[in-house]
Symmetry: C2
């Protein structure tokens, strides 16, 4: 089958689906051969583009091992639907062909009863292994690792190790061979080397002569963010997971780390936008979930914003006497929110990448204060200019004291933007200090915080500058 050229709007899966559908109808036994060279990710896209009631036929037509590969890339909902509709023996036969970590990931997304039924149909060893992996939290190193890794005794000769590794590779299991771990007689990890280093090693040497003894590893309970950070910092393709005695429990591979990084990033962006993170793709998220994840923060922020109504009420007399002040309320408080939002997103990201650490808060404050001040001076000048320009151009009459109004707007912007930058940059530190994720400091959260203070600053400046004239 020739491969058509996909583009942004027409992914490969959608392009191929009609042809595969025809083959499925006419000669299902041909499907395996016709799609042999397709990457499983692409074949999963094809399955997703098929009519729902033909997906099962596609998987039945593929050899079990191939079907398992495709299953790994399939959309979670469709995968659950497919496996839940199958007899448990058939489903078990399919997931048996997956690597243990993928198998555990798949079972975790199924209805608990169905997953239990499939587990029971697995070979005893696979079942034990899968159950052990299912016991780990999904967002820890244990939940990410695969148990099919390759380790050799450190006193093995290089020749014997090459023979052993080749035998393992031929064994047909799904183990990763990015890194080979060396262990001592008690099974403790003592070193690591790449397959390339093993092949390059001079004849006659032993593993312990050529291995790296400074092995980065994590406990099974390590947070997935820590796994991602170590992998990224040390350019690893695999990170070993060890128990308290440094015995190897499993290995997290780089492809899973990339998934973690993407998922964490999605969470961070959604939190920064002022909502709880959603786990599923946008179009797959149910209406109810979407509401739940968004309504909570919106309601909390609204309650926070109610303080602005109180502040406005507090300054009602001033507003009554100088209504012109109300004109600039949205402009002034938004500018504070905007500068705060900038500062917060900068610091959240710097903390996530560890460019900045908790103890650096004072250094950050010492940078944000002058930065905010200069930004405030720029915006303040623009704001004051607008008042004066509108007056001179005759677009709006701010009254006889328009110069003082311009000064009030300008000076308030200086104060609000400085405060916004400072508050926005300190909020992630403060949240972290009290045990929250610094990424909870969303742009709307900062904006709300700064809105209330912004009003107080604005009316404070007005009282100072306009007393005796407008107020």
């Amino acid at each position: 089958m020739s491969t058509p050229k996909p583009n942004e709007e027409r992914p490969l899966g959608a392009l191929l689906a009609p042809d595969i559908l025809v083959i499925l109808e006419e000669s299902p036994q041909q499907v395996g051969i016709e799609t042999e060279e397709l990457h499983p990710a692409d074949l999963a896209d094809v399955a997703e583009a098929l009519p729902r009631d033909r997906v099962r036929a596609l998987f039945d037509a593929l050899p079990a091992e191939r079907a398992a590969d495709v299953l790994e890339y399939l959309n979670e909902d469709l995968r659950a639907e497919l496996l839940e509709a199958m007899p448990a023996e058939d489903a078990a036969e399919l997931v048996e062909e997956m690597s243990p970590d993928e198998r555990a990931d798949v079972l975790e997304t199924l209805d608990e009863e169905v997953a239990g039924g499939i587990l029971e149909e697995l070979e005893p060893e696979d079942r034990r292994e899968t159950e052990a992996l299912l016991a780990f939290e999904a967002d820890t190193a244990g939940g990410l690792m695969t148990t099919e890794f390759v380790s050799v005794r450190q006193d093995l000769s290089v020749e014997d190790a090459v023979t052993e590794v080749r035998a393992i590779a031929r064994g047909g299991r799904k183990e990763v061979l990015y890194a080979i771990y060396a262990t001592d007689a008690q099974g403790h990890v003592t070193g690591v080397l790449s397959l390339k280093e093993l092949l390059a090693a001079p004849g006659g040497s032993r593993i312990e002569d050529i291995m790296w003894t400074d092995v980065r590893s994590v406990p099974a309970s390590a947070d997935r963010e820590e796994v991602a950070r170590l992998t990224s910092e040390y350019d690893l393709v695999a990170l070993p997971v060890v128990d308290a005695q440094r015995r190897l429990l499993g290995v997290v591979t780089v492809d899973d780390v990339i998934d973690v990084i993407q998922r964490e990033q999605t969470e961070d962006v959604q939190k920064l936008g002022g909502m709880e993170a959603i786990e599923e793709p946008y179009l797959d998220t149910s209406f109810g979930t979407m509401l739940r994840k968004r309504a909570g923060w919106l309601a909390i922020l609204l309650v926070g914003e109610m303080l602005t109504a109180s502040a406005m009420g507090f300054f009602e007399d001033e507003l009554q006497r100088a209504l012109v002040l109300s004109l600039f309320v949205p402009l002034i408080i938004s500018s504070g929110g905007n500068s705060g939002s900038q500062a917060t997103s900068l610091i959240i990201r710097a903390l996530a990448l560890r460019e900045v650490r908790g103890r650096d808060w004072l250094r950050v404050a010492a940078r944000e204060a002058p930065t905010g001040l200069v930004l405030g001076l720029i915006l303040g000048a623009l704001g004051a200019l607008r008042v004066v320009a509108w007056q001179w151009l005759g677009i709006y009459d701010h009254g006889p004291h328009y110069g003082l109004v311009a000064l009030t707007v300008g000076a308030s912007l200086v104060g609000v933007v400085t405060f916004g930058s400072l508050a926005g940059s300190m909020l992630p530190f403060a949240l972290r200090r009290v045990g929250f994720d610094p990424a909870s400091a969303s742009a709307p959260f900062v904006a709300t915080l700064v809105d209330v203070t912004g009003l107080v600053i604005y009316f404070g400046v007005a009282l100072l500058l306009l007393r005796g004239t407008l107020l």
Copy 2:
């Protein structure tokens, strides 16, 4: 040297630096041996923690190959300082030990004249290779790839290929061995296989019998985001870069892809926060750069917010007659901004992950409208409740028509939140349609957009509901 236990606030580099400093003073020839088992990333941290004038001594004390490994992980500024202070021959000797892509990356960050001087001191072949890489844009596949990859002829026997690969591995160059590429007689890429697959292959077979022919590849001009997307989608550890004739030019490795993903994410978060992306870590960014990256958007947003002053001015008569309306202006416009910010961050991320594509805009709108409506009803109820509650509790007197004021606030919130959700979700699509990065639709941008409309909705509702009573 025993390795102390680093923690969040005391990274390994800072802990080790004092010891290394002593060894450097007393017996510099011991430094190489004492630090032999440290990961180069950790040794780079040590260098960064040393007094600036001792860094050179550390690098001089290390064997050239080791020094080059450490140089790769060193902070860009410090690296530039170090190399620019060295005679060009010495610097060339150091970078000669790096892989070609790292060498090009390093030279790119140096003063142009210094980089030119170092280039001239390189061996002719290395120089040619480096110059070719420098010609590619840094944010393309060409700018990311290394030219030291391993390819074999597809008609080679597996035994010969293993021998060849072992010889290459022993050659001591820095080539990556994650994947082995197969080529035909004309040098076109025809297949790919992993080192594991090569080792597992049955004796007597040829490369073409065991290779995968469906090779994902990109042209050198491909955007780094495309490189990251393919690597992530197909779980690759290396992505080949080919010319128009499918001849192999180089390979992008997964560690560089992770760097790209991290950098893109930093950019996205900063843009979402309403500023231009900064390239350097927060604390390394100069005051001037920081101002430039933030002032532009703040000023643009301020100019946008000036429309709110115009809108407020337009409704001045209404405000005069019913000053109570001004109390809820911040609350109402912020709620619109908050719901818009949620919707925008959701869609920006969904577009980045291709969960949603350009043609899906109508489906998204059809979801956001009812979601926004329900969210608006929740917030509207809360807002109206607050007016009534404050009235009944005697906290604030909204006048005899407080019921109508409550209704106005509630109904306006419904309208503003619905509009905010819809506008926030459509903005990224609109930006993309006119050729901008959808990620430019920052939270402050959406908030500003919704502020102006929010005022119009609010006063429109007020005119409708309060005519004859307050207005």
